[in-house]
Symmetry: C2
Subunit: 265 residues, 2 copies
């Protein structure tokens, strides 16, 4: 089963496009957990157990774990292992925003796909497809390319324009038309840019988008869903991180987001 | 002492623009070391001891360590600790090619600057300066922005052009004119593109460039040095990885590269 088949299956089973972003920085987790052994993993485990039937995916961001060095990476690995063993039907994405030259990318491929056993990884486009081959050639795993990021200053380079189009659209065109030979590409489009999301949908056919920026970052659910759905009424993995994992009741928040998204599908 | 002062001091002391890229993938190190405890660190330590007076910088690439999970990261930390303790005057660069949104970049800042205590880190420009503030605001550390990468397919996006200029030049202009308020920015320009290197030199004044692509990747030393020197006869950190670390005699190779570079300064 490839990434898209696995995603379609869990989206249908849980009737959900929700991705929970496990941005579990050790300094931010509740006091009573901090003193525990493997505190970050224990925090993640509780979130995962509470939300697994309302989501299609989990997305730990590597930065929050790297902040704690090899110890953080060890607990990131425990988190992937736990999801893969306990809820193997749920998608796992390593949000790592990597990209180096070809030879070097083999290291990141090993880290993300083989050691952590993530189903997908987020990637920068800047070095071009030739450099990204080690990722793209892994037909069993998803390469999730940054197209339009959710941050306020995203346009500094992403809106840089040729006579025909802006850079983020050029990235979308390249990924949709050339990079996706194995049907394993997705793109990142921020929920904070619904107009750009609609533009990329026109370029990318039914390709699945990873959509961050809902919740703490201010993205609007209705606008996002209406702008981003594909012809099958899906095609999006909609992420919320802080809005769910640091909520008083993560299960309730995950269900609320799932239901709100489904209202507009 | 900030990054540039530290760099100027070691460049003068060792009369060298050479950076050794510690791309020490565990599967590639000699058989007799592989069975040792901390084999990758021991391999690095031998290289560092053999070359420290011929270089201005060391640049481990995070990918080769991440490939080995938390264990790899532990030995990466040992490597940084060893350089910082034994040869504290030598520059250390974490080649990690990171970049996320602002909030998340704090994790990478902590990983690279505080935990590993690297003097600088390589960064993707795609998200723009607003996202990169956590790096840029660390005036004591260097933000080394990808401008023109050394790989064959670098032009796919980097040559995307507006009416005025191509993207890599636009990145160079932004970094030189707007990102460098703290005087802590450098740019990555591949030795495989000497013409582009000369173009960026015109844009960036005396800014220091990190120049990979010498050696195994085929960059020419004479062309690179002539195209890239700044008005002070320096302004480049010229990296060789495989050409030095997997050579029979790394000390000899480092000295040879140092001398060859100095011939054209």
């Amino acid at each position: 089963m490839n990434f898209q088949e696995k995603l379609d299956t869990i989206v249908k089973k849980n009737n959900s496009l929700v991705c929970v972003g496990l941005d579990s920085y050790v300094n931010k987790i509740p006091e009573h957990l901090k003193t525990k052994e493997n505190a970050v993993f224990e925090f993640n485990k509780a979130i995962i157990d509470a939300t697994h039937d309302f989501v299609c995916a989990y997305k730990p961001n590597s930065a929050f774990y790297e902040a704690n060095g090899d110890e953080g990476i060890r607990q990131l690995k425990m988190t992937f292992d736990y999801i893969n063993k306990t809820y193997p039907e749920v998608i796992t994405i390593l949000d790592a925003k990597r990209a180096d030259i070809g030879n070097t990318n083999n290291g990141y491929v090993k880290y993300a796909f083989d050691w952590l056993n993530a189903d997908g990884i987020t990637l920068h486009p800047y070095l071009g497809s030739e450099a990204m081959k080690p990722f793209l050639e892994r037909a069993d795993k998803a390469s999730i390319i940054l197209c339009r990021t959710s941050n306020k200053g995203a346009g500094e380079f992403q809106d840089f324009s040729s006579a025909e189009m802006s850079l983020y659209k050029f990235v979308a065109k390249k990924v949709a038309e050339e990079w996706n030979k194995n049907g394993n590409c997705l793109m990142v489009i921020g929920a904070t840019y619904p107009e750009e999301l609609a533009e990329v949908r026109k370029i990318a056919g039914d390709m699945t988008f990873l959509v961050p920026g809902i919740g703490a970052q201010g993205g609007d659910v209705e606008k996002t869903v209406k702008a981003g759905l594909n012809s099958k009424g899906a095609g999006m993995i909609i992420n919320s991180s802080r809005g769910i994992i640091f909520a008083e009741n993560p299960r309730e928040e995950a269900k609320k987001l799932k239901d709100e998204i489904n209202k507009y599908r």
